[in-house]
């Protein structure tokens, strides 16, 4: 009998085309997702070398980072550089025969939302995209990670990637999540425990009862931020929830293919006795709703805590904390719940799915967003938006005072018109709180959709359990 393998080992082994003596492998890629920002030079490179895309049918393209999220975008994109990038993607997709969801297609949305939504993402696959949050797709038990522009070109031309294998890391979350605690709180708490370099060089497999208990949406939120923990990718073994989510999606297998695929997917789990290079166990009962206070995703604390002081830290982190508190305009000792906010952003590839919007609607139904607060909901895709409208969620959000936007990356990053002004403070369901990430001088507090909804109602960071 062969030695026990982890889920990562199994997926890796199934995709090795060739291996050099030093362990460098040529890895076959099943899906390549492409967006407008990191792909233009890659297509240009193909054109200059006269090379075709090797497997256009395994490639899909969508504009998301640059697109405005106001309805008037049907008339075109004002910003010239953004418009040119989006037009270039459309032209490249057409020229190379790649499926493309244009700005006015209801299927358009954030690349990591539409991959699963359209059934492009499936268990056991290798998936790449010129974007670090490709880790999201690991929720389906797919090996998914971000790549650079020269690698985008490499995959387009060869459908392979030159890679060395990472190490295996297991993160087990035991027990049941308390009320008011969500996937976002788990993923942020893990980063808080390990640091942003904690997963470096590893592929994380998330397991345990609390992970099994998550919906597919929750698992996507979890894996999405594997990258903030420094890992190359995150993985959750597929189960009945995975199969149920995929069944009937446009690009999911059907008929006898479905049966064959399902039989294969059922072999995708870590064998008993499989070896991990690192293991971490968290007790779900001890996870609270959390919020970040600094400018690194590891600067995270339960909402009931107080802002720490630089002296609470050691070494280089001490200076970093001093700098980040100054940037954030926060004083040590202040209760997190006393921090007032100007803006609430609900969206992004971390939390822009239907379940996230349902959660927000449940909390704000019949209530009003705090006076003077700017609160926006940006669905992750046109189809999420449509479904929310059909379910009456959009109405609830609008009557509570939220702006109801078109799909895109929006205020997750300052690359389109949705940005924070200098000094503005935002409760955000996105994934990065770096300086300037949401706009020059903007201040970001990362939290779950439920916590963002609570903050929208009170105008300050708020414990959703107390509402």
């Amino acid at each position: 009998m062969s030695s026990p393998k982890t889920l990562y080992d199994k997926i890796w082994d199934a995709h090795v085309v060739s291996e050099a003596d030093d362990g460098t492998c040529l890895l076959y890629i099943d899906r390549h997702l492409v967006h407008e920002v990191t792909s233009p030079q890659a297509f240009e490179g193909l054109r200059m070398a006269g090379r075709p895309v090797r497997a256009p049918e395994k490639t899909v393209a969508v504009p998301d980072h640059n697109v405005p999220t106001t309805p008037d975008r049907v008339n075109g994109i004002d910003n010239e550089e953004s418009r040119i990038q989006v037009e270039a993607l459309e032209k490249n997709a057409e020229e190379f025969g790649i499926e493309y969801y244009g700005v006015n297609d209801v299927r358009q949305g954030i690349v990591h939302i539409i991959g699963p939504e359209q059934g492009w993402t499936q268990p056991g696959m290798t998936i790449v995209c010129g974007d670090s949050h490709t880790a999201t797709h690991g929720a389906f038990g797919a090996l998914a990670h971000g790549i650079g522009t020269s690698e985008v070109e490499h995959v387009l031309a060869t459908q392979t990637l030159i890679q060395k294998k990472s190490k295996n890391m297991k993160v087990e979350v035991t027990g049941e999540l308390p009320a008011g605690v969500t996937a976002k709180d788990i993923t942020l708490s893990i980063i808080g425990a390990t640091g942003t370099a904690g997963g470096t060089g590893h592929v994380i497999e998330y397991c345990g009862e609390a992970i099994e208990g998550l919906s597919m949406e929750g698992r996507m939120t979890l894996c999405n931020m594997a990258i903030e923990g420094g890992a190359r990718a995150g993985l959750v073994a597929p189960d009945q929830k995975t199969y149920d989510y995929l069944k009937g999606r446009p690009h999911a297998p059907s008929g006898s293919d479905w049966d064959a695929a399902l039989a294969y997917w059922k072999t995708l789990y870590s064998d008993r006795g499989a070896q991990y290079d690192r293991e971490l166990v968290l007790d779900a009962a001890e996870i609270a709703p959390v919020v970040t206070w600094g400018t690194s995703p590891e600067d995270v604390l339960p909402i009931t805590a107080k802002i720490p002081a630089p002296e609470d830290f050691e070494g280089g982190k001490r200076d970093a904390v001093a700098r980040s508190l100054e940037y954030m305009g926060l004083t040590p000792g202040t209760a997190l719940e006393d921090v007032a906010i100007d803006t609430v952003f609900i969206g992004s590839c971390t939390n822009g799915r239907i379940e996230d919007l349902r959660e927000v609607a449940r909390i704000v139904e019949g209530k009003k967003v705090k006076d003077g607060l700017r609160a926006m909901v940006v669905p992750g895709s046109g189809l999420v938006r449509q479904q929310a409208e059909e379910e009456g969620i959009a109405e609830i959000l609008k009557s509570a005072g939220f702006e109801w936007r078109m799909a895109g990356c929006s205020m997750c990053l300052a690359m389109n018109p949705d940005q924070l002004a200098p000094g503005e403070r935002c409760a955000s369901t996105s994934n990065r709180n770096f300086e300037g990430r949401q706009g020059r001088g903007g201040r970001t507090h990362l939290l779950s959709p439920a916590m963002a909804a609570a903050a929208a109602l009170t105008g300050r960071l708020t414990d959703v359990r107390a509402l």
Binding site: P40, Q41, K58, H154, A157, P253, W258
Partner: protein, 201 residues
């Protein structure tokens, strides 16, 4: 990537040290969607005045160097950011070879990925070539990668070192993609067997 075998061309002298990637291609040109077309902005801030007019004194604006294919430069050429736009801009202008006493590491590697040969020579040798280059269009250099030699305008020969693997890639015009495409049979075979195993993909 174009092959690099032998190159005979005019060498432009640039005796500056620490030429950084921001000088080679300033950051306002990084928003482009292309890697071609950067040649006109190569050394933009040294080459044009604030109104966009050419500065006649700048070496690449002088008639005898407008078609230069070789750059002879001072030490630590290409320092600064990792932008691949720097070799892209050189290449687009027509420069295929840079000769200097030393290079910044990332830039050095980026050159090979883009079909540009960076040659490291001792300062005295660079000085000699710099003097040749000062003589303008009458002083062509011939760079022979196979034999690892540079022939000066007066027949003198200078030998240079180059990593064997990188040399191989340049001689055959192989970038990472080119190298992987040499294994196309293996990829084909993998794909065929994989399609049987997982026909739904």
């Amino acid at each position: 990537m174009d092959k690099f075998t032998t190159l005979t061309g005019v060498a432009a002298p640039m005796p500056l040290i620490n030429v950084d990637t921001d000088m080679i291609i300033p950051k306002q040109f990084l928003k482009t969607i292309k890697r071609s077309g950067l040649g006109k902005n190569l050394f933009d801030e040294m080459r044009y005045d604030d109104d966009g007019n050419e500065i006649p004194d700048f070496v690449l604006n002088k008639p005898q160097y407008r078609n230069a294919q070789i750059l002879v430069a001072g030490e630590n050429f290409g320092c600064g950011s990792s932008r691949e736009h720097a070799p892209w801009a050189l290449l687009d202008f027509g420069i295929r070879c840079v000769i200097a006493p030393s290079f910044a590491d990332i830039f050095f590697n980026n050159c090979f990925k883009n079909g540009i040969l960076p040659i490291v020579l001792p300062q005295e040798e660079v000085d000699k070539l710099m003097a040749d280059a000062e003589r303008g269009a009458n002083a062509v250099l011939t760079v022979d990668l196979e034999n690892q030699t540079i022939q000066g305008p007066d027949g003198g020969e200078i030998a240079f070192e180059v990593d064997a693997f990188k040399k191989e890639c340049l001689l055959n015009g192989l970038d990472d993609i080119g190298l992987t495409l040499q294994k196309v049979d293996q990829i084909d075979a993998f794909e065929a067997q994989y399609a049987k195993q997982a026909p739904w993909l």
